[in-house]
């Protein structure tokens, strides 16, 4: 008799949605999270507002989580790290450490939703000066400030008069090996530029980009409003170096529209850091023996028609665990993984 419980690893958007889906279909979801709370990277990194609708992150995630909190069909295990797995579809035994204590879960299928981590700009050594200059920050740093409705220069606490975003930091970079687009950074930068202009109407905001990738409705939802309503300047150009000049930050690079070198002084620079597989994603791939692609994300087997199945029967992956993903992708994949995980278990009960 197959075990009909589903283990979901990771309490971010995809994991929460997967737990919702499993419980909504009347099955038991066991959700394990390494931190002491749910919400994934948006919560951990204190995102101020979601892209593209600028909805308050805390509110939005509270709504997402509501159906699984106090749900008898969802067991949530905080502070829990998966350490081992054996068995097969319909009968997995999963070992974990919960606050230093060994625990075991017996489940029929597994959904890995361990997500991504933000690219560390230090790896682009000597290019962005993130570890040298206070006024060079990342999108996630900016989110933390925006969530407090206060946007100032970290170096002196003053309101910035000129800010620029630099796109594709750690993405679309063949030299680093991250040739992929991280999908969300153009949207997030545009969203943040609007938030900054709302807080600091007199601040000049620039976005230096290779080419802006505004998927679906984002074009009208954030891209055009940023330019037309909030007067954000989009400049097609590559930043190649950031250095200190007096109390300013000097951005060197190339304006590719005018085909000329540029050197512009800014009060602050925001690096649009891309996505890489989280440590959890890499560890789970090893524990469950699922294939990873060349970038370390978990590889799904069905191409564009099945974005959650892996090479191991009964083990599925969802959201940014399988590659760069926005929240829409993650939530959709979480729901799909729930269906696939249960379908796989139920298929065992169907006579051949």
């Amino acid at each position: 008799m197959a075990n009909e419980n589903v283990l979901i690893i990771g309490g971010g958007a995809a994991g929460i949605e997967a737990a919702k889906g499993v419980s909504a279909m009347g099955y038991k979801a066991i959700l394990v999270e390494k931190r002491d709370r749910l919400g994934g990277t948006p919560d951990e990194e204190k995102y101020a507002a979601l892209t593209p609708d600028l909805r308050n992150t805390t509110e939005a995630f509270a709504e997402l989580m509501a159906p699984i909190v106090d749900n008898p069909l969802v067991d949530i295990h905080y502070n829990t790290l998966i350490t081992g797995a054996e068995g097969e579809l319909g009968n997995f035994t999963i070992k974990a450490l919960q606050l230093g204590k060994e625990v075991e879960f017996n489940v029929g299928s597994v959904i890995i939703a361990t997500g991504f981590k933000h690219f560390d700009p230090g790896r682009e050594t000597q290019k962005y000066a993130y570890y040298e200059l206070d006024d060079v920050i990342t999108l996630t740093d900016a989110e933390k400030m925006l969530s407090q409705h206060k946007f100032v220069r970290p170096s002196n606490g003053e309101e910035p008069k000129r800010i620029c975003f630099i796109q594709c930091v750690g993405s679309r970079d063949r030299r680093l090996g991250n040739e992929y687009c991280s999908k969300v950074c153009c949207g997030i930068s545009s969203k943040q530029s609007i938030e900054i202009k709302k807080l600091l109407p007199d601040c000049k905001v620039y976005i230096f980009y290779i080419d802006m990738r505004m998927y679906g409705y984002w074009e009208n939802e954030i891209y055009w409003p940023a330019q037309e309503e909030y007067k954000v300047n989009y400049i097609k150009g590559m930043a190649t170096e950031i250095v200190k000049k007096g109390d300013k930050v000097l951005v060197k690079g190339e304006d590719t529209t005018f085909r000329r070198p540029m050197e512009v002084e800014m009060d602050m620079v925001i690096l649009a850091v891309g996505m890489e597989p989280s440590e959890g994603t890499k560890q789970m791939a090893k524990i469950f023996g699922v294939n990873q692609n060349k970038y370390g994300f978990i590889e799904t087997t069905g191409g564009c028609l099945d974005t959650v199945s892996t090479n191991v029967p009964g083990v599925f992956a969802a959201g940014a665990t399988t590659g760069p993903a926005d929240l829409e992708d993650s939530v959709s994949a979480g729901a799909m993984a729930a269906i696939k995980a249960l379908t796989a278990i139920r298929s065992l009960a169907v006579p051949a």
Partner: protein, 395 residues
């Protein structure tokens, strides 16, 4: 006091992870080729110091048994640069070898798009490596150009079977083996590895000195993963070379916005468009340093960089530009700190920009030192000696 949810740059911790390096560790492939009988690897002799490179890998820097691969431009324009390296080795009683059969690496013309082919370039490199190996010493490269070039040659030889075969054939005719060093080591890495020992022997206080550092392009931009980086130096975002050595001597290293730019030498530019080199050196480097950091001295670690930054200031001076910064190599500053003679050892009279104010700021009696040097020169003029000896240098 500002309370923000964003940490300041000096609190951000960058973890260097070799696993995330975008390149393979060439040494793994080198040793594999040795196993397959393709070449022989010259091991770094003991004692050596381990330092970290750009992607967190470990590099061995030999302290002794070093074979000094000198620089054409150094010997021709700024001989005190090499002399200071030898003086430091002698001061510590280290076993080193100053070969007389070393050839030019020929890389200057190669980088200036003027000459040669990969086989010839690689064969010249291997001939020099083999000469070092035959006498039981390990190559220590004085010249930044040669250093960068040899890294590229090693890279090419490891990855191109055909090139290895051709070079092996050339070496056979010369009666030499295809040998490649385990590490390509620049002399400034030796200075960095020795910095604490140099600081222990420091006799001239330099704590009131401000320096700007120019890291040589061929040191940290060619095969960049082989350059030395340290967490304490610019958060491991820039090479630690020179900066770490100067800081060990108590010198304040000041930043300036064009630190990443070339010195102006540019290989091709200095040959075919020298005015551009002079303008770039003065306007993009020296004037920027003066305006933003106002240092007492500029310190760098390559022949082309020292000569270009130093000698270009003559042109700037003629046009009343903001010039007048003495330029030295790290080896010269280290030797000076340990009490080396500014003229007999550092040979600062070969430098163009006036360095006397800097020496006086260090408390050195410039007139006395110059008189001592002149006295030795008078003996040579009088035919009483042929050249200065190490004993003369210590007088």
């Amino acid at each position: 006091m500002i309370h923000l949810p964003v940490v300041k740059a000096n609190e951000r911790v960058f973890k260097i992870t070799p696993e995330e390096a975008p390149t393979h560790d060439l040494r793994d492939e080198l040793f594999q080729l040795e196993k397959e009988g393709e070449l022989e690897v010259i091991r770094v002799p003991e004692p050596y110091m381990e330092v970290k490179t750009k992607y967190g890998r470990t590099k061995k820097i030999p302290l002794e048994k070093t074979w000094h691969h000198k620089s054409c431009g150094q010997c021709g324009h700024i001989p005190g640069y090499s002399t200071s390296i030898f003086w430091l080795n002698r001061a510590f009683g280290l076993d080193y070898y100053d070969p007389t059969d070393q050839t030019s690496c020929t890389a200057w013309n190669y980088y200036a798009s003027a000459t040669s082919n990969p086989e010839a370039q690689a064969a010249v490199a291997i001939r020099n490596f083999a000469s070092a190996h035959e006498v039981g010493y390990f190559p220590l490269i004085h010249c930044g150009t040669s250093f960068g070039h040899y890294k590229e040659v090693r890279h090419a030889l490891v990855h191109q079977h055909d090139l290895r075969r051709k070079v092996r054939d050339i070496m056979k005719k010369l009666g030499k083996k295809l040998v490649i060093p385990e590490e390509i080591v620049h002399y400034s890495e030796w200075v960095l590895a020795m910095r604490d020992r140099i600081a222990e022997r420091q006799v001239i206080d330099m704590s009131h000195i401000t320096a700007t550092v120019h890291p040589a392009c061929h040191y940290h931009k060619l095969i960049e993963e082989d350059a030395v980086y340290e967490s304490e130096i610019y958060g491991a975002q820039r090479t630690a070379i020179v900066t770490a050595s100067l800081q060990a001597l108590g010198i304040n290293v000041a930043d300036y916005s064009s630190w990443f730019d070339c010195c102006g030498f540019g290989f091709r530019h200095i040959l075919v468009s020298r005015d551009f080199s002079r303008s770039f050196s003065v306007q993009r480097k020296i004037e920027v340093m003066k305006e933003e950091a106002n240092p007492d001295i500029v310190v760098t670690h390559d022949t082309g960089c020292v000569t270009t930054l130093d000698q270009s200031q003559v042109a700037g001076k003629a046009h009343n530009m903001k010039v007048g910064l003495p330029v030295m190599a790290d080896s010269q500053v280290a030797a000076l700190a340990m009490g080396a003679h500014p003229y007999k050892v550092l040979q600062l009279h070969w430098h163009n920009t006036d360095n006397k104010p800097f020496l006086r700021k260090l408390g050195i009696d410039v007139d006395k030192k110059w008189a001592e040097f002149q006295a030795e020169c008078d003996l040579i003029k009088a035919g009483k000696k042929e050249y200065l000896t190490w004993e003369d240098a210590e007088k």
